[in-house]
Symmetry: C2
DNA sequence: TTTACTTGTAATTTCAAAATTTATGGCATT
DNA sequence: AATGCCATAAATTTTGAAATTACAAGTAAA
């Protein structure tokens, strides 16, 4: 069972959802760990049925696996699924970025610049200090902001929504990768390359940089 | 409320899910119609909570909309969402087909030919008789078989799964379009064009034909 | 006539416990 | 030792009712 530092007792359904979501994307459960409704019920001070409802909604987001008559588990991400997730993410981000370049206005460019600025600031700090752990949550949020902003002008709510469910499943592996400093070191140049291609509205180059950046994720 | 020709009483959870799913994709509920758990409870002879669980799982598939404290509704598909769905479907089917052409073997070609043969047989019958209604469920299944087989060799469970949830939301409009005979008349040539391009492993041409075929869906 | 408030009704959500199903451990048999 | 079977324990699923919340109609005030 994960550490129970956060919620002692008595939470509303949305709060329980958010808390479990956060715990799942920050890998506070082992891969494939069983999520017993009785334990969670006691943890959040609610009924077993409420937990059941929350877990169903989390299974929608792909964070929890449900099997009939044998409950819920934190999703185990096999090597094959990791590969599949990456390929699908590349497809969505490439398409979303190209559509954003097509439809995005100066306002979008400004938001993308701002998101990149924050992200690169953190990544510079990582490179200077040589460690990742102390800014991991910050970095994780900034990275999401950048990638989400990149596709935010695509005018397809469906694509964006799908992208988010995929992205959440990547966050899980960030923790286990935190020790691997080399992974984060290369991100600065890759993110800048994506930014510049996007602002230049060079769709071919942008697709290329997105592919290179995301494909490298998979290997580690 | 939709007609209740099928299930008088007493069904298991999976059966209830299947039956409601079928009713939703065959548009036996009006767009935005409220799905009252009490009514459904009496219909299927189970508890309100069981209905609630089924409806949550259907909302995963995008067939049902859930709003906190105000229950479930059959999803209303606006013009904007229809456009979004179509664009997304084009992206997925193009990518899935190209990957299938890359990975598919002779076995895949055989299955695709078989699926097309069945589909074109029905579509010829439609053209001969000049009416659609009497074979609509048959046609709907055959069309799904063809498109699913087309992407079945893509080696991405995620893409295929996502495609299915999108496709189900298209089935809903088939019924309301049944009267529009012209829509179905043009399908024969389009499906054949896709088949031939796929068998020839011509990815550029196949993308083009898929786009033309699916984009025409949106306009009607 | 409109707006705001009150009240009654209906529907959703939560709860605690019963019923069903699956997992576990001991015991006999091969 | 390995396998199959039964009894027990544990966990999931369903139930029916209670509590909460939204909805609608009707009344009073502006």
């Amino acid at each position: 069972m994960a550490d129970t530092a956060t919620p002692p007792q008595k939470m509303e359904t949305p709060a329980i959802y958010d808390d479990l979501h956060r715990k799942l994307v920050t890998a506070q459960f082992d891969h494939g760990e069983k999520l017993k409704s009785e334990d969670l019920r006691k943890l959040y001070g609610c009924s077993a049925n409420t937990i059941r409802e929350v877990l169903f909604r989390l299974s929608t987001a792909g964070l929890v696996a449900f099997e009939e008559q044998r409950g819920f588990r934190a999703r185990r991400t096999s090597r094959e699924r990791q590969h599949d997730l990456t390929q699908f993410r590349i497809l969505l981000e490439q398409e979303g970025a190209c559509l954003s370049m097509k439809h995005g206005d100066i306002e979008w460019e400004a938001r993308l610049s701002a998101a990149h600025h924050k992200l690169s600031h953190i990544e510079s700090e990582v490179r200077r200090s040589g460690s990742v752990e102390h800014v991991l949550p910050l970095w994780s949020n900034a990275e999401w902001e950048f990638h989400d902003t990149l596709i935010s002008a695509c005018r397809s709510p469906l694509l964006r929504e799908t992208y988010k469910t995929i992205y959440d499943q990547f966050r899980q592996q960030l923790v286990s990768r935190a020790s691997n400093y080399g992974y984060y070191a290369e991100n600065i140049e890759e993110h800048r390359a994506i930014l510049e291609a996007a602002l230049a509205r060079d769709t071919v180059l942008c697709r290329q940089h997105i592919h290179d950046h995301l494909a490298r994720n998979m290997i580690s």
